[in-house]
């Protein structure tokens, strides 16, 4: 039976979500930056002046770089800075555990930031998608007796990375980028 456009959208959106979630939280857990996953760093979106909206625990919006910096500062409180300089394995841990995620296609014909060539090339269903992804899990701060836990609710709007999708064999680039990020851990 032929796969409908709707089915293709659903299937592809789940794959995109999986790929994104794995990349994003792996990076967080390894203390790597995540700013490259936001539209701000992407040339096509820069050209279209499209920037991500990032709200952390209700804060006024910040940039992806500021988010990276916030995470780095959180991982290593000033008092612990000296003790971790030489050996990252000694760094206090902020660990993200994803329990659950779900994704919807909220615009199956997304076009912003793309060139007409890209739009043409990426005309198939399941590609030009604007996605709403909600992730829920647990954040653990520190380790051992002193560790505290919070519930995490991360909501993303993802949009296509036009450059990555229109280039063949670009496995290592993010295929969907964050256009909106609402973080709440409590």
């Amino acid at each position: 039976m032929a796969v409908t456009d709707h089915e293709e959208n659903v299937r592809r959106s789940a794959e995109a979500a999986k790929e994104f979630v794995e990349w994003y939280y792996n990076n967080l857990n390894q203390g790597k930056p995540v700013s490259s996953g936001y539209v701000d760093k992407n040339k096509s979106y820069q050209a279209a002046s499209i920037k991500a909206d990032i709200t952390i625990n209700g804060s006024p919006p910040i940039t992806p770089e500021e988010w990276d910096a916030k995470l780095a500062a959180q991982r290593t409180p000033p008092a612990a800075a000296a003790s971790t300089a030489g050996d990252p394995s000694l760094a206090p841990k902020v660990h993200y555990e994803v329990d659950c995620y779900d994704v919807h296609v909220i615009n199956a014909d997304y076009r912003a930031g793309a060139t007409s060539t890209q739009l043409e090339k990426l005309g198939k269903p399941g590609v030009r998608m604007m996605l709403m992804l909600s992730v829920s899990g647990t954040v653990t701060f520190g380790s051992g007796d002193g560790a505290t836990k919070q519930h995490l609710n991360d909501t993303f709007i993802l949009v296509p990375n036009w450059d990555a999708l229109s280039r063949a064999g670009s496995r290592n680039t993010r295929r969907y980028l964050v256009f909106s990020h609402t973080y709440r851990a409590y």
Binding site: G58, A82, S83, D102, T148, T155, A185, Y186
Partner: protein, 656 residues
Amino acid sequence: MAPPIGPRGGPQRTGGRSSRGGGISKRRHNPLKTDRDGDVPMDAPAAGRSGSGPGARGSRDGRGGRGLSRGSTRVSSRVAQNLRNYAGDGTVASKAQFNRTTLKILGLRSSKVADKPDGGLRTLLDFLERKASKEKQITIGKSILDGDYVWISVHKDDAQNILHLNGFVFTGAPLTITETSERMPNKEEQISKEAAETKQKLTAVVAKRYDPEQKFLDLSALGSDDILSSMGTFDSQNLAEKAFKALVHLASSSYKNSDEKRQALQAVSLARNNLNDVDQVFSLAHSLPDLRRLDLSGNNLDSLSKVAKWKYRFRYLEELHLTGNPMVTQENYVVELLQWFPSLQNLNGQQVRTPEQVAQGLRALEPTPLPQFPSNLRDGDANVATIFLQNFFPMFDTDRARLVSEFYDEDSWFSLAAVPNAGRPLAWRSYLKFSRNIQRFGGAGRNPGLMQRLFTGNNLIADMWKALPVTRHPGMDQPGQWLVDCHTFPNLADPSGHGSAMGLIICVNGQFEEADASANLFGTRTFSRTFILGPSKPFPPPKHPYRVISDQLTLHDWKPQAEAAVQAPVVAPLGNPIINPVINPVIAPVPTIAPVVSDEVLKSQMIQELSNRTGMTAEYSMLCLSGAANWNFDLALKSFEETRASLPPQAFIAAV
């Protein structure tokens, strides 16, 4: 002659006994340096450590070790192997090799070379290779002497050439060579008896030196230990380190988990071991990272740098003894050590920090949650989100059918995901069959649940909602019950089919009460729900200018840690109906917003709100809220109603 330590010896064995580098440096051989305590000389140059790699295991590994002398080489490498096994850092993996053929050879035992130290194996292998190599050089791979048989492994193309030698006479004994599909005896299995003995001895050492009452492992003066000495453990630096590692491993691996270990093993003494760098015993930091007391007294640590390898390890080390080491005469070493060991309170018997100071220091080392701000509503001048939510949740509680018909259309998407905590799935029965948790869907895109558990269009959504338990959400006007973040964004598809439209994303965190009468389940659930709103389609004429494009509900059990008696969040008890129309239940604020900053913000919002509603001054509003009401807005309002008559005139804002 002094035995070299396995086949790795080469480059290190530059001189005679006195300069055997990292090899053997048993001090009592040197009359000038005799240590009267018989302490372990664990102080060979670090270069010696480079030889402790995989080479040590290989002297019997077929041809590799043939150039080296046998005999005691084998003994020490075997001890090394056994020790390594118990230190848990290297098992010889026997990989299956598909292009190899295994042959069994009988006859070596009755040959003239059978009484050689290696049982004549090497001579036989040389013989076979020489005789078989006619057209091309044939090399025998692995070989092992097991009982009467010699097992060899050769390339399958060479097998015939060797089988040809069947019946040949080797130093007076006829050889029987057969191909076999049996597995070659494993070296690990073969030496397991000796290994078991080694383990037994080491276990005896640990047992003798462990004091369960004091939770104390006494590894002091290991050099004078009879058992260890008799095992030849101190024949070399390398072995001594391995023995140490094995002992620590044995002592620390008998516990079910790290908690139990932390409880049972809190103190270790390494006193009088002639250590000149803790590098030699570094593994202690891995095996017992939570150690509380450590005795290093009477060693040879001559400067702070010789302890530096343990810098910032042993986070919970409270007591450290370094008396009798040259380093204690160094200036400022105490200051440094305090830096390196944040829990250190007692150094050489002197108190150097109070428990309070330690607690404070440890807290400062831990990462803390990000600051919490109140709801961030950026939904434009029309307050679309606020109005939408004020409509949405009361209708979801009372009239879902109408809610769907007003706000959803044939293109709306709804799904829910439930995150039950292990062990109590019963309480989640109403939800789990609908749960679209992609994390649980193997192979993401292909799972049928993706389609089945996605509800598209108002009709499907309405049907599905009928199956969900009855809910009651707190009023949107109750401060502290909700955390809502929302903002507008561009580039949704315009329902007219042309161009793009603005959308609104609303992320709601809150909790609701639930009654599933059919399953007799009642309780409170925490949830997150995210909506994407976009402009309504022009036809049929919509009730509202906007519609729900996407609605994702995530249900979870989350109790803020401070409130939970146990760490694991608890599912609401069965048969205890919290939904009770008579009593107005007080629902604890969901996020129990922890950081003081945001708390203050919330409080000031509550004060303002109470002041608006009652006409009281900010000061009296605050008094009212912070009193018996304990920042519960409804209670404060109630207490205001009750005491209104007795309030003095200055409690109220003067009428204009």
